[in-house]
């Protein structure tokens, strides 16, 4: 055991030594590139001094008009700006890491060293991160020192911790994202084009942070730090999973081969005939559809659900959490009892539902269309959010249901009866269908961070998409249609029977 620990320590020490050897070279190389050094020096030394000067003038100006609050808010805001500007350079360095080396033909010798994929990825990420981050800290210090000596201003202690934390988290997100982009493209030009996927969200985030800074509710900004850390963990995981030497060297042109993608998708979409062990080929032609259906429902869909087990667990946990959230909010924000007069419910209550703007027509097609639209939107959002927004979208209605289940209990109704009458008749079909569709949507997003073993990201994603399409059409849609019919034609009668006057 002691020997094993010693060995592990030696291995991790050796591993870190290799990473830092790479980091040292990369940092040294960056510091010799005037295109990086000049802007960083300007943003680190000149820009914070300029900001101190601007802040000084602005404070005097707003004081003349009796609006000192603007000045009070401006100083912390500029603190955030002087930290963010140098860190934005990490993006330039990171985008260039792999794509730039490939263009200069210096990547192959590096790939032929004993560095592992993770060491290469980590070394490149740290190297892109360290100089801009140090520059950002220096910029913050220069700005604060300048303000201290010119205005005697010192920031609230919370800002001294918050702004560097926020700057670090933002830098990490930009670098991790940019390294992923750089390792998946063939040229710096392609990297720069794809960088908009990082720049646009970051620009929106910084604008949001600016609003919060002027609002001066710094506690809200604290929530952004863990959010960015989670995003960063996802991106690093994605980077390590999608990084491979072969992809880096093998990819010569960024060509979108639609025919090849379609072939791969169609391949994943197909399934084998099966019908209880019978030889479908020998069955009469008019009965072979049994093999098609048997293969789909007897073999393929169960296999898809088995390989989606982790996503199903995530969705189940999300749904259970949403029930707790709904329950907790109901306890915190009780509704007036008169709103919940269930004995007044009649057939008209249901037919008048569309009067509430966001509810669908209370017909089978209306309810089905609404549910299908919501689940497809969830799938689309899942693609852009690593699967997270799909779960959130499913959690919201269930949290509302449990909010009302708890509310009716507070005003003296039976919550079990409420659930049984309002939700269960159609929910028994609708909820599993929505849960399964959401789980497959989660896979659509999660594939980017962790493609199935032996598959590229694109192939893994096409596999997940084919699974989603098959299950949605063959299982989810029929269940939702049946649930919609029950919701429209049966649930109102059960509700009126249980609660109606």
């Amino acid at each position: 055991m002691v020997a094993l620990t010693e060995r592990m320590r030696a291995v991790s020490g050796e591993s870190l030594r290799l990473v830092f050897t790479l980091v040292r070279r990369e940092v040294r190389d960056s510091l010799r590139d005037w295109r990086i050094v000049v802007p960083v020096v300007i943003l680190t030394l000149f820009f914070p001094v300029l900001m101190s000067f601007v802040a000084d003038i602005a404070l005097r100006w707003v004081a003349k008009y009796g609006a000192p609050i603007v000045g009070d808010r401006l100083l912390p805001f500029l603190l955030m700006v002087v930290g963010f500007f140098p860190i934005s350079f990490s993006l330039v360095i990171a985008l260039e890491t792999f794509a730039g080396e490939k263009e200069r033909n210096s990547l192959e010798p590096l790939l032929a060293t004993p560095l592992t994929d993770a060491q290469l990825y980590l070394g490149k990420t740290l190297a892109a991160m360290i100089p801009p981050l140090l520059a950002a800290y220096l910029g913050i210090i220069v700005y604060l020192v300048g303000l201290y000596f010119t205005k005697g201003w010192t920031p609230p202690p919370i800002l001294v911790v918050l702004i560097p934390s926020l700057t670090t988290a933002e830098g990490l997100v930009m670098v991790s994202g940019a390294v992923v982009v750089s390792s998946q493209t063939t040229s710096v030009r392609a990297s720069n084009l794809l960088a908009s996927f990082i720049i646009i969200p970051m620009a929106l985030l910084v604008q949001g942070e600016a609003i919060i800074m002027f609002w001066a509710n710094y506690n809200v900004l604290w929530w952004i730090v863990p959010f960015l850390v989670v995003v960063d963990i996802i991106l690093v995981r994605m980077g390590i999973h999608t990084f491979n030497r072969e992809g880096l060297l093998g990819r010569e042109i960024d060509e979108l081969n639609v025919a090849s993608l379609w072939r791969a998708f169609r391949g994943h979409l197909c399934w084998e005939w099966w019908f209880f062990g019978l030889d479908v080929q020998k069955m009469p032609a008019r009965l072979r559809w049994l093999g098609t259906l048997g293969g789909l429902y007897g073999r393929d869909i169960p296999a898809i659900l088995r390989r989606s087990w982790l996503a199903l667990v995530v969705v189940t946990v999300g749904l259970v959490s949403s029930a707790f959230i709904g329950h907790a909010y109901a306890a915190r924000y009780p509704l007036p009892p008169e709103i919940l007069g269930l004995e007044h419910i009649s057939a008209e209550t249901f037919t008048e539902l569309p009067a509430v703007g966001w509810l669908p027509n209370f017909t089978t097609w209306g309810v089905l269309g609404n549910n299908v639209r919501a689940l497809l939107l969830a799938a689309l959002l899942a693609v852009f959010s690593f699967g997270t927004l799909a779960v959130a979208l499913l959690m919201a209605p269930l949290a509302i249901v449990f909010f009302f289940v708890t509310q009716v209990a507070h005003v003296g109704y039976s919550s079990a009866l409420f659930l049984a009458a309002f939700v269960l008749p159609h929910g028994l079909l609708e909820l599993p269908a929505a849960g399964i569709a959401t789980a497959l949507a989660v896979r659509l997003g999660a594939t980017f961070t962790s493609p199935p073993q032996g598959m590229t990201v694109s192939d893994g994603w096409l596999w997940a998409l084919a699974d989603f399409v098959k299950v949605f059409v063959a299982l989810v849609l029929p269940l939702l249609a049946l649930a919609a019919a029950i919701e429209v034609h049966l649930t109102p009668f059960i509700v009126m029977w249980a609660f109606g006057g």
């Binding site: 030594r17 070279r25 190389d29 033909n105 192959e108 004993p114 060297l249």
Partner: protein, 304 residues
């Protein structure tokens, strides 16, 4: 030392390397020849554990390239097609960086680096920024990088392509000295004269498949037929043809010369000379008509 067993690599349905089986023993130099796109670089990249084979297996210095890629990379020296130097670094920094990645300590790395730079006739490169190097210096620096950790296996892609004749000779001498130190060396090249001068065996690869493999002499016999001898005489050849036609097959003749081929020159030539001498025919020269590796290559690659 290097062993390839049915090594295959496919990219999106395209087979770049197809069922390649060969081996390179310690102290042996194998030249891998072939037209552009034949699969040479892909083969080398698989041996360097950069690309993963689609099928088959390869062992380098006793380690499987798929099971132990890190150990493989520790034991190879790879000279890539392009030198791929970091041009803002000085030679010293560059070699120190790669030496450390290969597990050398600073002193050992400096000693090896200086020794190799001196051997390749560019000790001044130690302190110079690599951006200022000539094309040949860059190529030599890349070779120094590949040899720095004294690897047991060397994979060299076009080792002398950018060099002047003197530098190329230094590199060839260095490669030959490595053979004496029992290193297994695989060279990919288009320079057929160099391959012939260096290689113990030649493998010609085309469309991913090894189409011929053997020593240069074996390949010449196999592909160009038995050695062709040229006999120059002191008198017209017409009268002599009758004398020797029973011993050898005459391929061509001129006024005072004739050419014949024989699968066994060691046995045939002395007999032929004896016959001529006994008939009082004077011989000016008897020599083998040179046949280059280029002839072999063109026969294999073009005619196929």
């Amino acid at each position: 030392m290097i062993e390839l067993i049915g090594l295959t690599k496919q990219f999106d349905g395209f087979t770049a390397v197809d069922q390649v089986t060969l081996s390179v023993e310690p102290g042996e130099i194998l030249a891998l020849l072939g037209p552009n796109g034949a699969g040479k670089t892909t083969t080398v990249r698989m041996l360097a554990a950069i690309l993963r084979p689609t099928a088959g297996q390869a062992f380098v210095a006793g380690y499987s390239v798929t099971e132990h890629p890190r150990e493989v990379r520790q034991r190879i020296g790879l000279l890539t097609e392009h030198p791929g130097l970091y041009l803002r670094m000085r030679g010293e920094e560059y070699l120190d960086f790669f030496g450390r990645l290969m597990g050398l300590d600073a002193d050992e790395c400096e000693r090896r680096a200086r020794e190799l730079l001196a051997r390749f006739g560019m000790p001044e490169a130690w302190n110079q920024r690599m951006g200022t190097y000539s094309k040949g210096m860059r190529q030599k620096m890349a070779l120094v990088r590949a040899m720095l950790h004294d690897p047991s296996v060397l994979l060299l892609d076009e080792p002398t392509s950018a060099m002047d004749p003197h530098s190329a000779k230094l590199v060839r001498d260095s490669v030959l000295s490595l053979r004496h130190h029992q290193r297994a060396i695989m060279i990919c090249t288009h320079n057929l004269a160099e391959a012939e001068a260096l290689a113990d065996r030649i493998a010609i690869i085309r469309r991913g498949r090894i189409i011929v493999l053997g020593t240069p002499a074996e390949l010449k016999v196999r592909l160009l037929g038995p050695p062709l001898m040229e006999l120059r005489l002191t008198r017209p050849a017409d009268g002599v043809v009758k004398l020797v036609s029973g011993l050898v097959g005459i391929k061509a003749q001129g006024e005072d010369w004739l050419r014949y081929s024989t699968p066994n020159p060691q046995g045939t030539n002395p007999l032929l000379l004896q016959t001529l001498a006994s008939h009082g025919v004077g011989v000016v020269t008897l020599s083998e008509v040179p046949r280059s590796l280029e002839d072999v290559y063109l026969r294999v690659v073009v005619e196929e």
